[in-house]
Amino acid sequence: SAVISQKPSRDICQRGTSLTIQCQVDSQVTMMFWYRQQPGQSLTLIATANQGSEATYESGFVIDKFPISRPNLTFSTLTVSNMSPEDSSIYLCSVAVRAGVGINYGYTFGSGTRLTVV
């Protein structure tokens, strides 16, 4: 299965600033997924990053706040812009891998970026 390198692993940022998170995959993948995990909560999909096209955002997430780049099939970045304390979360990237027969996908995740906004 794919191996994802995600960085930074953690950061403490001042409100109003921006942070860019990077994910590098060791193989070419069509789609990469970005998730947010707020403290003590489950994962929520932010957007799907497709190479060569605009990212597709889920309800409640907008490109101005979470711009995404996908310059090639192995790399993506997520920027958390104009941060506020409410943005303090773990951010994770993910890719799908085939899981057995049929159209079944398991998902490999990066190690996460723990963001604290002060």
Partner: protein, 113 residues
């Protein structure tokens, strides 16, 4: 929106005991998956069970799926301190495309040595 609901929210057991976590969901699924997360790090895929399967094993893990009740369970046998983590179920609505996972809220498992 959240679909999977795990229970219990937290579980504390002694090493060597079995741990059972349950997951319920609301809509039809293509498959259901279980993930482990150690201390706020990345998620590790544990096991996937397809909608036409009822039970699946992987090492000390046993997963069951009851589509009529829209529920699944994860059993960890002979638990170890290293099993301490949060466990999430995730349902895949299918449709032939990727990125259709909906995660539950998770069960926090603590295994005491």
């Amino acid at each position: 929106s959240q679909q999977g609901e795990e229970d219990p929210q937290a579980l504390s057991i002694q090493e060597g005991e079995n741990a059972t976590m349950n997951c319920s969901y609301k809509t039809s699924i293509n498959n259901l998956q279980w993930y482990r997360q150690n201390s706020g790090r990345g998620l590790v895929h544990l096991i996937l069970i397809r909608s036409n399967e009822r039970e699946k094993h992987s090492g000390r893990l046993r997963v069951t799926l009851d589509t009529s009740k829209k529920s699944s369970s994860l059993l960890i046998t002979a638990s170890r301190a290293a099993d301490t983590a949060s466990y999430f179920c995730a349902t895949d609505r299918g449709g032939g495309s990727q990125g259709n996972l909906i995660f539950g809220k998770g069960t926090k498992l603590s295994v005491k040595p």
